[in-house]
């Protein structure tokens, strides 16, 4: 959605931004609303309940696969591993607000990963 908004902006400025976002949001909004209304209506039906019981562990598996794939792409060096480990512990164990963790990531990025501020491997880190 953000990608569509950005492309819309590049092509036609703010009107482009608005129409691109509406174009990507509206169809999925109506489809989602339809499915949600349908599911809430038949929530207690045994077949729907069993479908959900099967899908719940599947979604967990999808998230674990996503962690695996993202870790490969994002944890490129020791600093990134350290940052991820600290954020994980703070949010899970110490109940830090996830928004604060993201803000911390912005600050850490500016401090730790600034080009030239730290020794960087060749071909990496130069924006």
């Amino acid at each position: 959605m953000n990608l569509a908004a950005f492309i819309g902006y590049r092509v036609a400025g703010f009107p482009g931004l608005l129409s691109a976002s509406l174009g990507t949001t509206l169809p999925s909004f109506f489809v989602t609303l339809f499915i949600v209304a349908l599911v809430l209506r038949f929530e207690s039906h045994p077949v729907v309940a069993r479908f959900f019981a099967g899908v719940r562990p599947a979604v967990l598996a999808l998230i674990v696969v996503a962690v695996w794939n993202l870790a490969h792409a994002a944890l490129v060096d020791k600093r990134a591993w350290g940052l991820a480990a600290v954020a994980f512990l703070l949010v899970l164990v110490f109940h830090l607000h996830p928004g604060v963790a993201l803000a911390g990531g912005v600050v850490a990025g500016l401090l730790l990963f600034r080009s030239g501020a730290c020794p960087v491997e060749p071909g990496r880190g130069e924006g």
């Binding site: 959605m1 562990p57 674990v64 994980f88």
Partner: protein, 171 residues
């Protein structure tokens, strides 16, 4: 109610970095812990629903929570609220990038955000694991789906439909 929906979802939209699964701990904190709009079980089902409906997880969350609490107007208000902040941010960034060309500091910001996003998705997995795998049949489904999607590159939507079918037959 509508005003409360708007405020909470605008806050969610403001932090909608990384989209997808990284939003789960954030949504859980806001919708279950703070506002008590959903129970843990309903939250889990919301995550499930967001996987079988189009669009990113936070717009699905907007539709689901808004609709549950205030019908169609609630769904519209929550969705608009969740989309507005990221529109503003993208507009601002787009404007800066187009005007000033490439931004080296933006690269640093993203390099710092990525590990945090990984950590948040991992937190989501740990939090959901407690309620989504209550018994060995569920664990079997989780392992099967993990292998199918992770090793055999099955498309997630087929894995979800397959798991739902397994649920209807065996649960």
């Amino acid at each position: 109610m509508l005003v409360r929906l708007f405020l909470v979802f605008a806050k969610i939209g403001l932090f909608a970095f990384g989209g997808g699964y990284a939003m789960i701990p954030f949504l859980e904190r806001e919708l279950v812990a703070h506002e008590a709009w959903l129970s843990h079980g309903q939250f889990l089902d919301m995550v499930v629903l967001s996987q079988v409906t189009p669009g990113p997880i936070f717009t699905s969350a907007g539709v689901i929570v808004g609709f549950r609490n205030a019908g169609v107007p609630g769904a519209v208000v929550a969705t608009v609220a969740v989309v507005l902040p990221s529109l503003a941010i993208v507009g601002l960034l787009g404007w800066t990038v187009v005007r000033h060309g490439h931004l080296p500091w933006l690269q640093s910001v993203f390099t710092g955000l990525r590990p945090v996003v990984v950590a948040l998705v991992a937190v989501a997995a740990v939090t959901l694991a407690r309620s989504s795998v209550p018994e060995w049949r569920s664990a079997g489904v989780a392992v099967a789906v993990g292998l199918a999607v992770g090793c055999f590159r099955v498309h997630p939507i087929w894995a979800i439909l397959g798991a739902g079918l397994l649920g209807i037959i065996f649960f």
